[in-house]
């Protein structure tokens, strides 16, 4: 039936060499290319110097790459069994961040663990994907029709979303919700049921708006009219568009971006890194980067399609969706299409948590790919 039908591997595990052979090295090369783009961009963001952004970036990527390859070799069935444990750890960290996290830019997002500032909401998204996949992978088609069966996973989505909103971090909360909804869809929950849930959430939006922080409301209003406050909250969007627009078709050249190098462009090493590349390498450079990102996203989706078990399929879908949401929200943000949201460009932006969590996600994705043909013994419907 499946286009990618392969012989099921019934053995409990298979050899390490075999596993290494199964890793999609092409995909690893794609990730390395993306991290290299990040190196170039951060080198420029520091005014033509590897310090303080580019060198730590590439070191972190190296660490992340080892982490990813290690996770890729872990049996996917072990990961599946540990899904809910991971989910619980994620929720505890989120609660901890609310209790004792430190504040940055008006929001409590950061948790200090071993001298490193962590943003647990990033980790939470991966844990949520694993937990939801675990929930749905043992669901029979008949149980899917039962609406009561959908209530626990819906709560599993809403708890972290609510906690992330409390930080508050609107962008990540929305991404988390969208990723969760995607798993529901992939698992075969009927369209109308998903739409119903989304509709209920949308109806709650005005109430949520009243509970938003002032700075979040300001983001939404300045998104609607950026020119109304050019030196205030709308400044970032305007300067980003000026930078992109002045880059034109071919760009101003490496290290020649006046907007970025004269500091008109805010946060150029993090949220607005795409803008910096767009200014220096033009539309051509921007589209090339967008193309690379598209290949990585579609590659992830293809891994989901080629997987023989439901758990792997849902995990690969969720992780690809998460990556896709990072890309879309970030680029839509810097082009002034949606409100500014503090979402980095994965593997390009400067920042430790995002890099490590993205690479952890990529590790799980690769583990799905490596173990795409294993048999889930505890799957009730796998015969």
């Amino acid at each position: 039936m499946s286009l990618f039908e392969r012989r099921l591997i019934r053995e409990a595990s298979f050899g390490l060499t075999n596993k290494l052979w199964q890793i999609s090295w092409f995909y690893v090369v794609l990730l390395c290319m993306l991290a290299s783009v990040g190196y170039v961009a951060l080198y420029s963001a520091a005014g033509g110097s590897p310090e303080p952004f580019a060198s730590p970036h590439i070191i972190r990527f190296g660490v992340g790459l080892i982490l990813m390859l290690s996770i890729a070799l872990v049996d996917i069935r072990f990961i599946a069994r540990m899904s809910w444990v991971g989910y619980a750890i994620g929720v505890i960290l989120l609660i901890l961040v609310l209790k004792m996290g430190h504040t940055g830019k008006g929001a409590q997002r950061w948790l200090n663990l071993g001298g490193v500032a962590w943003q647990p909401s990033e980790l939470m998204k991966i844990m949520l994907v694993l937990a939801l996949a675990q929930w749905f992978q043992r669901a029979t088609w008949e149980r899917m029709g039962n609406i009561l069966f959908l209530i626990p996973p819906a709560i599993a989505v809403l708890v972290p979303v609510a906690l992330i909103l409390r930080e508050p971090n609107l962008g990540t909360a929305v991404i988390t919700a969208v990723v969760g909804a995607t798993i529901f869809l992939g698992a075969g929950v009927r369209w109308w049921k998903v739409l119903l849930i989304v509709g209920v959430v949308a109806l709650c939006a005005p109430i949520a708006y009243n509970h938003l922080h002032d700075y979040q409301r300001a983001r939404i209003t300045t998104f609607l009219h950026p020119e109304s406050d050019p030196l205030g909250a709308g400044y970032n969007i305007i300067q980003s568009k000026i930078a992109l627009g002045s880059g034109g078709m071919w760009g101003k050249g490496f290290l020649q971006g006046s907007q970025a190098h004269l500091n008109f462009l805010p946060e150029k090493q993090t949220d607005f890194i795409f803008t910096m590349l767009g200014e220096e390498f033009g539309l051509v450079g921007g589209l090339a980067l967008l193309g690379l990102l598209t290949v990585i996203i579609i590659g992830g989706m293809l891994m989901a399609l080629r997987c023989r078990h439901q758990y792997g399929r849902l995990v690969a879908l969720g992780i690809s969706m998460n990556f896709f949401m990072y890309v879309v929200v970030n680029i839509a943000m810097v082009t002034g299409t949606i409100p500014v949201g503090g979402v980095p460009l994965p593997l390009v932006s400067h920042g430790g948590t995002a890099m490590i969590t993205v690479m952890m996600g990529m590790g799980v994705l690769m583990s799905v790919h490596v173990h795409r043909n294993v048999e889930f013994s505890d799957g009730t419907d796998e015969l």
């Binding site: 499946s2 078709m249 004269l262 539309l283 969706m321």
Partner: protein, 627 residues
């Protein structure tokens, strides 16, 4: 297996749909990028350049004012000042404390510095102290390690080497106001000054020059990254005046403590060689700001030091007007030079008696004797015969009561009454008004400059206009040569008659101004005294043995003297007014003699100009000098 097939089928369908949606979203972002980077790219490029480039003006050096021999009378001096750049010092207070150990900073200055530090970004230099002396600079330089953030830089400030001596002519500069800045953005630059009075004001457009511009690349907080382009401005032009500074100083010295004004002109071309008004003021005080006490002292002084009396003081001309009456009579053929009028000491007309200054009378007088003795009765009668229309017309032809083309702002025209003016007031012009006008009294009000113009025209026979500008930017201005001016329409005969009368006043036995006689061998001066009442003398006072010198100062008559020399080859003209000096013959004539002696000894009009002089363009610049 069957269930899984169904499940995986649903998954495949939905994953393909989601993938398609993802590709659609990424495609939309690509389209948005195209929109921003290519479709709207030009607009954003302009905005990026506007962000990046800041254009700043460079102040041009202000042009100097020179006297006729090239002596600087208004120049620029380097102004060494200490600036503080806050970001270059760890502790601003400590740096300022250390600085004040070397160069004291007054309490209010310290407050100003702290105010400016709060207002500006930390890399903007703040002026700590201006006008540093060499010793102070040396102290700052040697203690530089204790003064992080302090830099010494140099600007310019306006100086007037001759201060009060030329204040009324040169004028002064002051910090520009908002109107000046709106007119020329250059004035927004720190340290800029605008001409506020005198030649500084009149020639401001020439001396201010044109600002240069420098294109700077700046970052988001306005810090300069590098210089992209620089266009040097145009230096202000130097203005050469007609004044002889040394003569000007000598004249001012001779005026002593009197509230007085003297104008020395080159009679042949109208160049003003000296125009001294006493008392004067220090023009550099306006550059830094005038204190309230100083201002009060100036404005409460009854001798009005800020007023340039030569062009703004209005006086009845008294007997110095008699030449005009004489010429008006001769030119209108109402009288001849030989007509005799008997002076018994008074003239009765209508129901009034008009007194001569000589109580006993002068006897029979012709024009020459009338001038020589300054006989009032003679000129009462001749004015009556000539009529006010002719007299006023003649006065206007000699520059009296008409607007003169002098460059000084604030110059007053003076006033020459006419019958028409009186009619316009709804009153009749009486013959009595004409009679008192015959001795320069009544309604007329004239400036010393206009009297100098009158005597210049009598002496040279040319309709010269008084002027102060000799050359601009090295180019000799129109009017510097006698031929630039037209010969007067008054006949030589009439001119000669009054010149002869003026000669007799000073040089002939029994003349009314013997104290004006020169001691120089071979040189003679022709002049005319004047004593103009500022207040009517009543019959009662006259009967009680009136003596003007017994009056309070401000009610005493003004003393006047006009003169030209040498008599046989007229070159220099002089008008002198000593306020409340009583009698021209006593108070003004000796001063006039000394001034003319000084002028003839120096002979500034015959000396060569500065060697760089360049003779050019005969076309008069619009509105400056019209013959």
């Amino acid at each position: 297996m069957k269930r899984d097939t169904k499940r995986s089928g649903v998954f495949t369908r939905r994953a393909l749909l989601i993938g398609a949606a993802q590709i659609g979203a990424l495609g939309a972002l690509a389209a948005k990028l195209y929109q921003v980077q290519v479709v709207e790219g030009a607009r954003y490029s302009t905005l990026a350049e506007t962000n990046r480039i800041s254009s700043r003006l460079i102040a041009p050096p202000r042009g100097r004012l020179l006297d006729r021999f090239g002596t600087v009378v208004a120049g620029n001096k380097l102004n060494w000042r200490a600036l503080l750049i806050a970001e270059q010092t760890g502790d601003v207070d400590e740096t300022l404390d250390n600085f004040s150990q070397l160069v004291p900073i007054p309490e209010h200055e310290r407050a100003r510095i702290e105010r400016e530090l709060r207002r500006h970004r930390r890399f903007i230099p703040i002026t700590v102290r201006e006008f540093l002396s060499w010793n102070e600079m040396a102290a700052i330089e040697t203690n530089a390690p204790e003064l992080p953030g302090i830099v010494v830089d140099v600007g310019t400030t306006r100086i007037y080497p001759y201060g009060p001596a030329l204040a009324h002519i040169v004028g002064y500069v002051a910090p520009p106001n908002e109107k000046d800045v709106a007119e020329d953005t250059m004035f927004a630059l720190p340290g800029m000054r605008v001409g506020r009075a005198g030649m500084e004001k009149y020639h401001d457009l020439s001396v201010r020059g044109k600002a240069g511009a420098v294109q700077l690349e700046v970052n988001a907080v306005g810090r300069v990254i590098r210089e992209l382009d620089r266009q040097e401005g145009t230096k202000g032009q130097d203005i050469q005046l007609t004044i002889d500074t040394e003569l000007q100083k000598a004249v001012l010295d001779r005026l002593g403590d009197e509230s007085a004004s003297a104008v020395v002109m080159d009679a042949r071309n109208g160049e003003i060689l000296a125009m001294s008004t006493n008392p004067s003021f220090d023009p550099s005080l306006f550059n830094s700001g005038v204190s309230q006490a100083q201002w009060a002292e100036w404005t409460n002084n009854r001798k009005a030091p800020l007023i340039n009396k030569a062009v703004s003081g209005l006086y009845a001309p008294g007997s110095t007007f008699k030449m005009i009456v004489g010429m008006a009579g001769l030119e209108s053929r109402a009288i001849t030079a030989t007509d005799i009028v008997n002076c018994p000491g008074y003239l009765d007309f209508g129901d009034r008696r008009y007194h001569c200054w000589s109580k006993g009378g002068h006897g029979g007088m012709n024009l020459r004797d009338g001038l020589k003795n300054s006989c009032d009765v003679y000129f009462y009668e001749m004015a009556r015969r000539t009529g006010m229309d002719h007299i006023a017309n003649m006065a206007n032809r000699f520059g009296l009561g008409v607007k003169l083309d002098i460059e000084l702002p604030g110059t007053r025209t003076g006033f020459m009454p006419t019958r028409e003016w009186r009619r316009a007031q709804g009153k009749a012009w009486n013959i009595g008004d004409t009679i008192v006008s015959g001795i320069g009294q009544g309604y007329m009000q004239l400036t010393p400059l206009s009297l100098a113009t009158m005597v210049s025209r009598i002496a040279s026979g040319r309709d010269v206009q008084p002027h102060l500008t000799r050359s601009i930017g090295g180019v000799l201005q129109y009017g510097s040569k006698p031929e630039d001016w037209p010969v007067t329409s008054v006949s030589d005969k009439s001119l000669h008659a009054v010149r002869e009368g003026m000669w007799a006043v000073v040089n002939e036995q029994g003349g009314s101004g013997p104290l004006g006689r020169l001691d120089l061998p071979g040189m003679q001066l022709a002049g005319k005294t004047g004593s103009a009442q500022v207040r009517n003398v009543t019959r009662e006072q006259r009967d009680n043995g009136y003596k003007s010198e017994n009056m309070p100062w401000e009610f005493r008559p003004n003393a006047l003297f006009v003169a030209f020399a040498p008599y046989d080859n007229p070159r220099y003209a002089l008008a002198l007014v000593v306020e409340h000096g009583n009698a021209g013959a006593q108070a003004a004539a000796p001063i006039a003699k000394d001034i003319m002696t000084e002028v003839l000894t120096r002979d500034p009009a015959s000396k060569r100009d500065s060697p760089t002089e360049q003779v050019a363009a005969l076309t008069p610049p619009p509105g400056v000098l019209k013959p």
